[in-house]
Symmetry: D2
Subunit: 351 residues, 4 copies
């Protein structure tokens, strides 16, 4: 039984907490928060152990804040004694501070998120480099966009030798709950060059990839347009056959019509009610956009930015602690988080 | 046991089907659809009986269409023999055609939606006129906005004599799945005067109400700003106390901060995972906006346009067939559709 | 000849600079900026005198920054010697600092914007309190929303005794150029109570007004829904007749159809090409929404947030320096900034 | 002197009318409309001759409709006798009907828009195939997106041999005035394959190009991401130098920061006030996105969908009637429509 602690209970933390609770080889020791707000009450109501944290490491002051709000907690350092691994889901760059000031030198292993810099730990994607991660004390689960790219590029690289990859990103500019972020009516280019391609290379250094694009006024999913140049002449059916086998990808048609919009796909997840929050942890490939032209391949897909890296956190835990092989871990994760069912249903209803 | 058939399986039909399936005094005979698309397969997968309908009433042709798509159905008239009541959730104005051509003269009762004209049946709201609906062969569940207004105005009218009501609507211009409707960047006034006030009066003719407003580029919830003039001098605490007792209303604060945005409320529903599709069937009143000034009351609230009229459909079934008293029906509906739990949780997490 | 200096060259500063340049009784000494960016070059190209400012009042350092960027400037204090009045258009709250540290004790008069606190100077609206402003050394032109309200309420108050006013605001959440502000898909309530009503009362303390509402994902215009209770029984035609005489209001129909959307009105301004940036400095009243009910009046209108307070800045200059009567100043401003032509054209093309 | 008639007075018609009025070798005989609405009054006010058209070719009935609305017109066939060329700007596919029923067999030449099918006339782009168009009786000015692509690809093809071109389109889903079109919060894929690539090939059949992408909730500009494979090894500076010479392209930096958003660029056009409606007829290339990698070139740019094909209509007129050489016509158009000044200013203020 792996004892897991989670530091942070925001968009990712709450999802990873749920995901851990679905595993029969894991036990959630608890989640840590800095402020005694509604999310703290929610954690208690769900039955999660609650630990108080503090930006200035004054844990007793934090404990008092929670107590004053009527919430009983233990202090974060108490969590450390009971866990085999911590999943740090604090906001970008805070993980690095936590590592230095709180985690380093302790026995437990560490899983960080993609908002942290590369050096914090080995960049991880379950499909692409699980075996390299075995036993690593610190792993960094790459971001939502990078996870999407790796899930597609790894199987593609097994099929063909990839010579040159270009990805154009149409990023959702804010999550549904982020009601202060824009733009409202604009195309906002990303930093140049975009960080996504180098991030892919932290996991698959052999991939020659370039990324660019912009942020757009939508909240529900990122969209990628991919152009891959291969050594061999690629074949559409072969590609579809290969990608179809991947549980973490779902290949959607639309009954011969134009591929479904991102809101149509999310509406299906709402109808299916398979996952909490109607998350789609699988990458949603628009099957009819998979086209070849000479030795180039095109493809469009959607990335559910809030949830697609959640399964990778679960696998990262097992890899880091050497508790399962890649196939075993991914298969367990896919079943327990229902990526297999989601894939099956989405593919059935978008034939 | 009430045998229920549903004609239509769109935004409302799929929700009413689920709601019926949660009642222990009801049995869902099946749902009817005109085209053998993914939604038809979904209905079959869920285990709903599937009946084929046809715009030109050529049911055998429709049956063949479904058969050609590999979906076995029975024809709509077969449903008629097995049901006590039909809930018609076809698109606006089609219900009237169905009534005339298919339903009239049959034994079963009929529940229509607010998109139909007033004359199709008695306008219904569970809180406002359940008793008048007892035994009515045809009922019309009023629209999402009207349902919201009635749920607030009925208890308010029990507290004070309402002299004059004004409601300013900020309408969501499209549902999440409607990816072709706008505006993208504009305020679009509604028809003038707006139909909402007269619709309220089909249920509560004694209310002197005026409605106006516009449609805006958002998909998740309508918003109402209400100004009520009363005969007596109103009292904020009295109002809050009165409305707090209503299960179909939820009164949300925000820990002393500005009231929560509509996306923040929907995000909470996603976290709570109490209802399918994270629907919020309760009207979400922003508690801190309840203010009095002389003999006037102000108030702002959100209406989840996709789902708030669903409980009313369940109550309309019972009222029409005289199967339960108002208190009994509403209480059962609130429990089975979890409006009571949703209210409790929302109010807890938005203190 | 009034010598005018402008401190700040953003959304308001650039418009006031243009507006000053259109007056034959004013001379633009120049505009002041803190950074040598593209806007600085634009100011030079237009032919405006350019003065360098600095947050820490280190003007020589600022001058060097500009010089390094190849832009020749004079320092802000040099402007002070040549002007009769300064229009401060710096970001909210910075004006107060400027007043204390730079302007107080100097000979020139000061015009501030609505983002400053009330105490910075007498709140000003040309239509509502020009005469009280005569000779005032410091004036504060109220914000876009307040300006809109006052332009409507002042004439209304001349027609009827106003007992009680409610305004529901649908605020545009960001200006067209603000590409980082949201929400993208949400209704975000404003602070409670909203500051607009008290701001109206800084100019018309006799008005009993309450304001509330929210921000929405649109960039082009605010929208107000007004409910006014009067002592006397109001008459629609009388109201229309009264408001029609106001040059700073435009009363738009839509050939008997639903009132025009805000984007339709802006498109008309683009077609007309009467003002730079296609600004609509007039308040756009939707004529067909002017309705009475007993002793209450309803009304909807649009406020062009970027520009409607620009004419008030011009009038504030004249009032402060006692250079013209109210009628004379407003008439000159309306002609030179073409509010008269814009009103005429809009009313003609939206009959 | 070329006598020009325009059939249609919508988004394109009104812009072409203005553009014709700026030419000293052209005379605008008038514009034709089917309904006596505000746009008709606007045309009269501007001083354009007004001709009445009719869908069923009942011109006298149309004339009466206009007369009843107080607008004096001549009938469309009267226009035909006075013109050398007609620019048909009617909605997509209506041009083909007009050609067959009204224009064919007449003496005047015809210019159609990109919404018409290819066979209506030779596809035209001033930069790419002016000389082939000389004397052609019927020309089709390709659509906004295709015009953008051709303006970039033609000079690129002069610099390098283009082997393979991919363009990913982020389309604005609606024009600013189209207040009923969505999506509000979704990515909606375009038809597959998109029509843009084949449309480019109607002008430059030698270009091997593939296009795909989607529509997004924005109204102000399309965005293209281009990947070009060349025979030779390309050089960034060489590309920038080549494209910089093109008046109909503007190459924008952003003072070393991330490239400007589309709304920032449009705001600059508002400030500059060079064109009516603040149109940017130049294609706006984001200079810092021009990158090479091996023998591939990347590039991002914005296309102002409302106006970029307007200059091409002017050139198409001259080409069709053999009234000027390519260089002469383009240069005159660029000066009179101020593309030269717009380019100069945009490049100066986005260094």
């Amino acid at each position: 039984m792996i004892s897991v602690g989670i530091n942070g209970f925001g968009a990712i933390g709450k999802r990873v907490a749920w995901a851990v609770s679905q595993q029969d080889d894991m036990k959630l020791v608890g989640v840590a928060k800095t402020s005694p707000d509604s999310n703290a009450r929610k954690a208690v109501d769900i039955g999660y152990g609650l630990f108080c944290a503090d930006k200035d490491l004054d844990f007793e002051a934090s404990k008092k804040r929670f107590a004053d709000a009527g919430i009983k907690t233990r202090v974060l350092p108490e969590m450390f004694r009971e866990i085999n691994v911590i999943v740090d889901t604090s906001p970008g760059k805070v993980g690095a501070i936590n590592k230095e000031k709180l985690y380093d030198g302790k026995d437990f292993h560490m899983i960080f998120q993609g908002g942290e810099k590369e050096k914090i730990g080995m960049s991880f994607n379950a499909r692409a480099n699980y075996n390299k991660a075995l036993g690593q004390k610190s792993l960094r689960v790459v971001s939502c966009n990078t996870t999407g790219l790796l899930r597609v590029l790894k199987p593609m690289s097994e099929l063909y030798k990839l010579k040159d990859v270009f990805v154009v990103l149409a990023r959702r500019a804010a999550d549904p709950k982020e009601d202060d972020k824009g733009p409202i009516n604009s195309y906002v280019p990303t930093e140049l060059p975009s960080h996504h391609a180098p991030d892919v290379q932290t996991v698959m250094p052999e991939i020659d990839i370039t990324s660019f694009g912009g942020a757009l006024p939508m909240t529900i999913m990122h969209q990628h347009s991919l152009i891959i140049e291969t050594e061999e002449k690629p074949d559409e059916n072969e590609i579809i056959e290969k990608l179809s086998k991947e549980t973490r990808l779902a290949l959607l048609g639309n009954e011969g019509k134009t591929p479904p919009s991102s809101s149509t796909v999310i509406e299906m997840a709402r109808d299916l009610n398979i996952t909490p929050r109607n998350d789609i942890m699988n990458i949603v490939i628009l099957k009819d956009t998979i086209k070849t032209k000479g030795n180039k391949i095109m493809m469009m897909y959607y990335v559910h930015q809030e949830s697609d890296a959640v399964p990778e956190n679960i696998d990262a835990i097992r890899a880091s602690l050497k508790k399962a092989s890649q196939a075993e871990s991914m298969s367990r994760t896919d079943k327990t988080l229902r990526l297999d069912l989601m894939k099956k249903k989405l593919e059935k209803y978008f034939p």
